[in-house]
């Protein structure tokens, strides 16, 4: 669990923004919103996985030292 996750999120954010700009310029706004949504879902799943790990470690604290 090191800092690469943050850089991955930053890369996804920038990439999605670039793609959205390109799609907007070629006036395909509907696809642009879908791409933005997809990017957000990818980042959200990344963070949700980390929150799941946090819950597991908390649960292990409760069970192991109860």
């Amino acid at each position: 669990m090191d800092i690469s996750v943050i850089f991955k999120i930053a890369a996804i954010g920038i990439l999605i923004t670039v793609i959205c700009q390109i799609l907007k310029k070629s006036d395909r706004d509907d696809i642009a919103t879908l791409v933005a949504l997809a990017g957000l879902i990818i980042v959200l799943s990344l963070v949700v996985n980390m929150v799941g790990d946090l819950f597991d470690s908390l649960k292990s604290i409760i069970n192991l030292y109860g």
């Binding site: 669990m1 090191d2 800092i3 996750v5 943050i6 850089f7 999120i9 930053a10 996804i12 954010g13 920038i14 999605i16 923004t17 933005a36 990017g39 957000l40 980042v43 959200l44 990344l46 963070v47 980390m50 929150v51 790990d53 946090l54 819950f55 470690s57 908390l58 649960k59 604290i61 409760i62 192991l64 030292y65 109860g66």
Partner: protein, 129 residues
């Protein structure tokens, strides 16, 4: 040593989230939350060490395990509530985070009732002599 790494992670996460705020605000907040999670994981093994020491300390005394279990459970719930309230506040929902804090307090209170009960029974026993 770990503190230096934590400082670096915190600064980088905030810079990244500031940078992303211009393009897509939601991703920026998610980056900040991810930075917080990384900091927690960096410090997790120290927390395990503290919990181990507290447990060994408690095991010497004859305090029954229910109290110790409650102590650790209350700590975990309190931290979880604090984490989610902070995250919700970051996302801009101040009212919602207050409700989460209230729910956490009530949960902790309900969990610590047996401990309070045993305290009262102890007091009654002492008073009756």
């Amino acid at each position: 040593m770990a503190v230096i790494k934590i400082a670096v992670v915190a600064v980088i996460a905030s810079v990244v989230s500031l940078y992303l705020k211009k393009y897509s605000p939601e991703t920026a907040t998610l980056a900040a939350i991810a930075g917080g999670l990384i900091i927690i994981f960096l410090i997790a093994d120290y927390a395990f060490g503290v919990a181990l020491y507290v447990r060994s300390f408690f095991s010497e005394t004859q305090i029954d395990s229910v109290l110790v279990k409650t102590v650790f459970k209350v700590t975990a719930v309190a931290y979880l509530t604090e984490f989610s309230a902070g995250t919700v506040r970051d996302l801009g929902e101040a009212g919602l985070s207050e409700k989460v804090l209230l729910a956490g307090k009530i949960a902790v209170l309900s969990m610590s009732l047996p401990v309070i009960g045993s305290l009262f029974s102890l007091i009654v026993r002492i008073v009756n002599g």
